[in-house]
Each structure stands twice: as structure tokens, then as C-alpha cells.
Symmetry: C2
Subunit: 228 residues, 2 copies
Amino acid sequence: MAGHDRILYEVVGREDRRISPFCWRVRMALAHKGLECHFEPTRYTEKDKIAFSGQKLLPILVDFGEVVTDSWSIAKYIDENYYQERSLLLGGGTRFVSLWTDTQLQPVLARCIIKDLYDNLDPLDQEYFRVSREARYGKTIEEMHLERESNELNLKRVLTMIRELVRTQPFICGKAPAYADYIVFGAFQWARCVSPFKFLDDNDPIFAWRGRMIRQYGSLANTVPHYD
Amino acid sequence: MAGHDRILYEVVGREDRRISPFCWRVRMALAHKGLECHFEPTRYTEKDKIAFSGQKLLPILVDFGEVVTDSWSIAKYIDENYYQERSLLLGGGTRFVSLWTDTQLQPVLARCIIKDLYDNLDPLDQEYFRVSREARYGKTIEEMHLERESNELNLKRVLTMIRELVRTQPFICGKAPAYADYIVFGAFQWARCVSPFKFLDDNDPIFAWRGRMIRQYGSLANTVPHYD
């Protein structure tokens, strides 16, 4: 990675698809701060490539040689070290939004898109993904796919929380987006990078918010392969 | 109210019990900012007393003659007008925490304590409360009380979200409390002002957080009648 002052190691699937909600949180945060970055595609099973970080998870930020892991820690690092730019607003309830997204939104969304996610992996990663996810969810990928309809009902119930918020203000953080928006949008962008599954009506306030998020930072979210 | 520069009209029950989670949010926010205030007890049916505000809901803040209604608007007003003091951190995900507390935590907690709440009202307010709440929940107060056990299970499920947060950091907002903490604590303090119902184990991280919140600002939460 010589020649890059700042590198984000991101999970990649086939066709250069960027398939991690946590990596998207950081990508949006870097754009929020106006920070240039090289995005290094990393497959799930390329553990050797990230061994330097002393752990096995993505994203990993390398900023002028400093190695930072875990998306929340990376966001804090960026916010504290690049404080001249607009704050990511990590205080207040943002950690709560993170926990809600990790435990309520993403698991139920994962169940809806898991087969599409699997199909969009690099073939070299598919076996690892199948074994680890089927253990996590206690079901095969195909079984979860068959239950998409009931999972979609759960997803719609979970989304109620966000709908009310973006019905009355343009962004989750208020008049402008900040990290709480990137956390939730990370889940939506993850889905649209791997799946044509449509779970928002065009007249849903969440759909309009998602559109506003897609258009942020020169439509950053459209600069990678995605479905729409 | 002559002689008071700042007045918060609060819901009151029998024995001067302060029985509104929304009023507690504001009380804690005023303490956070170090602002002196007269707390004016107001019964649910004393609508004449607050007619000056042009609406029927509490809390109402009157700050040097300026009338502000709705707890979120009051918090914003305080934060913007008393910006010399530590911020309430209303940006980021705080609005999300507010919505979650309004729609997830408080309704299920209300079902658990509704009979105690009723019993702790001023008798002049009991008829109004019974009619409005039984219409809202579609059940009598006594029916809800009989279902406390199943409602308690729902409450414990909802509380999971906060537990994880305060297990890993002292306050919802991080190292120090701010408005997201006051929002959630408002619900707990509302409960302890009217009900002996114990739904937290002593070794629950939420119990420890609640203790930290009670001790804030000279144990403000203990300066009123409460159960413990």
C-alpha cells in the first residue's frame, strides 16, 4: 500500500462489491470529514493480508501509519484527530443508535438478503461465509431465504422507529447528516450493494431519506456496483 | 407565580408526587445546566391553570416570560439559550433515543405500573386518567394490572438495549450524562415516584446506571416523594 497516506481495508465481494455495513459507516464518516482515502478490497478469508492489525475483523483504518480497528473506534479516532471539520456528533444517543442497528436492524435485514449476499461473494469466500453464518443463525442460507416473507414483516416492524424520525426531520441527526445517519445508512447501503430486494415503498419517508443519503458527498454510494 | 424568573409546570399526583417522565427529562436538563427553577405542581385536570400556554400538555417552561412547550422543544430552547454551560448533546442519535423511549420503553413500563400510577393520583384526576388511559390501551387499569407478569417480560426484553450500553460505559452518552440519559432516566424516575414495583435485579448494570443517575446533581431524584 505504499504511496497511500490513508487506507481503509474493506470487505469485498465479487465484482468489487463492498459488502459490509460497518465499512460503509466509516466510508461515509471519512467523506463527512472530507478525508481522501484508498479503499483496499479485502476478502473475508484474506486473513494474512490484515494480520498486521493483530486481529481478524474489518474495517481497519491505517492513517499515516496508525492502525485503528473497529468501526466505532475508527469514527472516534477520525472525529478526535480531524476536529477542524464538522463533528460526527458521536455523543448524545449515537452509541445507542449503533447498538440498535447492530442488534435490531442488521440481524433482521441480514435474514432477508442472506442468499443474495452469499451469491455476491467471491467464490473463495462462500464456504467460510456459509459455515459461519449458518452457525450464527442456526439455519441454512436456503432456509432463511424461504422465510423471507416473514422476515420482511419483522423488518417492516423494526423500520417503524426510523420512519417516524425521518418523517419529521430530513436526517436522523436533524437538519444535516452525521454519524447516526451513517450507521443506519450503512445497513441500507450494504443491502443495495448485494440485493435487488425492495422493502421500501417509493412513498415511504425512509425511501426519501435513503435517497438523500445516497446523494451525499457526490453520490458516493453510487460510485460502487449496486442494485437499485 | 410572581417572583420567579423561571417556572416549570409539572404534572403532580397525591402527596406532591411528580408523575411525568417528560417533566423529569426537563428537570434533569435544567440541573445539567445549573439553572434555578420553580417547579409548579399542576394536576392533569387543571387546564385553566395552563390555558396561558395555548395548549393542554405538560411540561411547560416559562423562562423570563418566554413560554415553551413540549419537552424536546424545551430542551432545545435551554441548550440554545444557555450555551455557556455544557451541552445537552441533542444532536447525533438523541432524537432517536427520544422516539425509542416514547414508543418502546414507556408504553410497556406504563402497563406494568398503571395501577400504582392511578392509586398515586390526586383523587380529582382519577376519573380523567381512567377514561383517557383505558381508551388508549383498550383495557381497564385492573386488567392491565393482572397482566403485569407478561408485561414485565416485555419490559425486560425492551431493556436489553440499554443494558448493553451501560455495561460498557457509565452513561448512555458516554463518560458523563447528557439529554439521552435524562430521556431514559425520566421513565425510571417516573416509575419510582409512583410504584414499588421492582423490575431490575441489584446486579443489573441498568440498576447501577440508575443509581448513578439518582445521585446526579445532589441526588435531585431523591428530593421528591418516591419508592425505593
